[in-house]
Amino acid sequence: MSDLSRRGFLGRLGAATLLPIQAQGPLAGQGEVGRLRDPAAAGRPRAPTEIADYDERIKAIEHRLACTCGCTLDIFTCRTTDFTCTYSPQLHREVVEMDRAGKTAEEIIDAFVDKYGEKALMAPKPEGFNLWGYLLPGSAILVAGGALVALISRRRIVVAGAAGGAGPQPGVDDTGGETNAAPPASAEEMERLRRALAEVDD
């Protein structure tokens, strides 16, 4: 003992103290788990996660079905977000049970529509009146765009040959860059160009 330094002694003492504590600890996840001092403060009690809870197939189905609690979320998002919701866990169980009974995704979704109505779907099926919902915005833009092109083309024919109005020189880009080789400009045109460039660079 005489050749043991003070630091070495303290180190061995520490090791001797900690070793039994380490040895007493359970393997990860194998031993008893501690109880919370105030379980109610940690939210509603949860059941352990099952494979079906995060199965990609179940998840994909639940993403297409709306929760009925009024939250505007789909079943999967609601049950993994709003932990106070009592509807989405129940709806999840229904999906899992139907899946275990061998129903396909479409059959499960149809069963939900039969039971809860069309509002069970996160998006209405693109059929019948619902087609208006899907197609009207795009169609309106297409029609308006087509009308614009037709209108501008018609005007171009009318305007062709006439002197250009006020505004930037045709073909001038913002860097003042060329375009088609332009004929020599009059002082008036140059003044108009100067104004246009000043406006463009503003």
């Binding site: 996840g29 105030d38 995060y54 996160m122 614009l148 006020a166 930037p168 045709p170 860097t175 003042g176």
Partner: protein, 678 residues
């Protein structure tokens, strides 16, 4: 203080009604002497509403729980910052906040508007005062924030836990500032119509106001996304909720206006369209408020259902009829000076950009209202959620992204083939290379690939514009690259600030496309147990449950679940997600326990951890683990967009600081000779 507050509301109502009546009658009867009286009434309205607001804040700060609003939204142990933000946490307080800010903006419009536009100011005062009077009326007759109860509770209910987040102290005010400031451009538009001053004067008068509104809305929407992401716990930032949609609508139409107004300034076109856009934007802001406050459409954001919705519906209908009737009566005076000459022109590109922006706004509005329409037509309720909006709007959004890159490249009036070749070669190459590289490294999602390819194209456009401008300055003035770039931006703030805004939008799109590669899983773990989760970027996270600790904080009991994170075996530290049971000052629970997510964010991805709860009241925890790629870039995109907006609206720059050389005739020839036009 409630007596003083309510008295001030009545004073504000009388003053705003006086200002409205005198402003219009004074102009019609040719009595300019009444203008001073109108301005005085506008300032007085602001003063009265400011005192009313201070009175409510005093009630909130002094815990006067006899006031129904104070008892409903605060408690004795609520942190001070949230007592301040409780002003806009509820229906009644937010109406007062709206009214006071509107009256402030109305006063600023009177003070700051250039004398050149003084002839519009009485009408502007009339319109802003009429809108203010509506809000004060709504408060006094349907949602009085100073209403007292028959008894005084010992403590208040406290603020909803989800509103106890720093984001909620700034997100709603920003959105409100955006919504409210839209009234000023609307007022100038109506003033221009009433006074038949239909030249570009009113547009110059509102330029700063439109940019301010647009910027506040943009910041408010981005902050709202951030709040939803960090607070709501579902792992995303945009859910196409009706109230989110309502905030997007005026932003889209205002963005359209900011583009189309340039056509009116430069070419004298789109006068009717621009007036329609400003009126429509204001109406959409009222419509958004109606949705939020009426409960007509289910939303997680809605205020408590009340009859306030009827007030807003009536106001919306009246504004709509009056505004569009007025526009119709001035229709013949709003003929364009010149006509569009070519589909291949900057003007046409702006027009198509407007078409898409307004089309997307219509699409969002259509989707938001479609459940009501469906119920009316078919009698059956339907849900219109994110899958619908994504299906309809993502293609339109991608088209818009493409136009963001095309617009700046096309020449005014008519582009020549040489011009198109010169301008498009590098940006198109950048887009194609981006898409090919991403495809080569395994990206297969069609929308994400398209978005990223288009982002490459837009980035090419922006970089080319900056590079050419900078190179032109370097050759003309012999400046260093950094100086040339700084001066280029400083002297052309509107243009290059606009490009920065485009860069912000492009960053948004890139970040949004990251969500296509999202990964998520659930797990139940005892202390010491681990799970692994593979990132789309190729590495693997090992997530080990450390344990749960419970402790008491100021107004809540916290259950903190801690996870140790290792990335490919290397420790990355700890992440904690919490359950919070909020309590009042008597330690009584006030709301259901809420969840605080734990987030570890870097440029690549966010590791997003949600503690869902415990099994049997033990430390065995249920977690949801999510990897959200590129989320950091959403916030950065918002920053770039706001920076671009600020540069665009910053005073100075422009013509006053333009180099003398540029205002000489023959500038184009000089510039071309220096090679700037290459």
């Amino acid at each position: 203080m409630t007596l003083l507050g309510e008295f001030c509301l009545w004073v504000a109502l009388l003053l705003s009604l006086w200002a409205t009546a005198v402003a219009f009658s004074g102009r019609w009867k040719g009595r300019p002497d009444l203008s001073a009286s109108v301005s005085g009434a506008v300032y007085g309205t602001f003063g009265a509403l400011a005192v009313a607001t201070l009175a409510l804040w005093k009630g909130l700060a002094s815990h006067d729980f006899n006031i129904e609003y104070v008892a409903a939204y605060t408690s004795r142990n609520l942190p001070t910052g949230y007592i301040v933000s409780a002003l806009w946490a509820g229906q009644k307080g937010s109406l007062l906040f709206w009214a006071v800010v509107l009256s402030l903006f109305a006063a600023l419009a009177q003070l700051l508007t250039s004398r050149r536009h003084a002839h519009l100011l009485p009408y502007v005062a009339g319109v802003t005062s009429a809108v203010t009077a509506f809000f004060v009326c709504t408060m006094l007759f349907a949602a009085n924030p100073f209403e007292r109860m028959a008894f005084t509770p010992a403590d208040g209910r406290g603020l909803n836990p989800q509103l106890q987040n720093p984001g909620m102290m700034i997100h709603p005010p920003m959105l409100y500032l955006g919504y409210i400031s839209l009234t000023i451009p609307f007022a100038f538009a109506i003033a221009a119509l009433l006074s038949r001053s239909l030249d570009t004067g009113w547009i110059h008068a509102i330029r700063k106001w439109t940019l301010v509104s647009w910027l506040f809305l943009a910041i408010g929407i981005t902050l709202g996304m951030w709040w939803a992401y960090v607070e709501l716990g579902w792992g995303g930032y945009w859910a196409w909720d009706p109230v989110e949609n309502a905030s997007l609508l005026p932003w889209l139409t205002m963005t359209a206006f900011l583009h189309s107004v340039m056509i009116q300034e430069k070419r004298g076109m789109l006068k009717r369209w621009n007036l329609g856009l400003i009126i429509g934007t204001f109406l959409l802001s009222i419509f958004g408020t109606f949705i939020t406050r009426s409960g007509v459409i289910a939303s997680v954001h809605s205020f408590t259902q009340s009859n306030v919705g009827y007030f807003f519906l009536g106001f919306l209908v009246v504004c709509c009829i009056l505004s569009f009737t007025l526009l119709y009566t001035r229709w013949p005076s709003l003929k364009a000076d010149v006509q569009l000459e070519s589909v291949l022109s900057r003007e046409a590109a702006f027009l198509f950009n407007n078409l898409l922006l307004v089309g997307i706004a219509f699409s969002v509005l259509w989707g938001t209202l479609f459940p009501i329409l469906s119920e009316l037509v078919r009698g059956s309720k339907i849900t219109v959620g994110p899958p619908f909006f994504n299906r309809v709007n993502v293609p339109l959004g991608l088209l818009l992204l493409g136009l963001t890159g095309i617009g700046p490249l096309i020449a005014w009036r008519k582009a020549s083939p040489a011009n198109l070749r010169r301008q498009f070669t590098w940006p198109v190459a950048a887009g194609i290379v981006t898409a090919l590289v991403l495809f080569a490294i395994g990206a297969r999602d069609l929308y994400a690939l398209t978005a990223l390819g288009l982002a490459g194209f837009v980035a090419g456009t922006i970089l080319q514009e900056f590079y050419r401008g900078m190179r032109a300055r370097r050759r003309m003035h012999g400046e260093s690259a950094a100086v040339a770039l700084a001066r280029l931006v400083a002297r052309n703030r509107r243009r290059y600030g606009g490009y920065l805004v485009h860069a912000g939008v492009l960053i948004y799109f890139v970040a949004f496309s990251g969500m296509a590669f999202r990964r998520e899983m659930e797990a139940t773990l005892k202390p010491g147990e681990s799970v692994t989760l593979a990132s789309p970027f190729g590495h693997t996270y090992t997530l080990t449950h450390v344990g749960i600790s419970q402790f008491e904080a100021l107004n809540r009991i916290v259950s903190a679940a801690t996870v140790s994170v290792a990335k490919d075996g290397r420790s990355q530290g700890l992440i904690t997600s919490e359950k919070r049971q909020h309590v009042d000052s008597f330690r009584r629970p006030t709301f259901e326990p809420s969840t605080e997510v734990g987030i570890r964010s870097n440029l690549q991805e966010d590791l997003y951890i949600t503690y869902a709860g415990s099994v049997g009241g033990t430390e065995e925890a249920v977690y949801r683990f999510t990897i959200n790629p590129l989320v950091w870039w959403v916030w950065f995109g918002g920053f770039v967009l706001a920076l671009g907006g600020l540069i665009t609206m910053w005073p100075g720059g422009g013509a006053a600081l333009v180099s003398p050389r540029r205002v000489e005739p023959g500038y184009q020839a000089s510039l071309a000779a220096t090679g700037a036009a290459e």
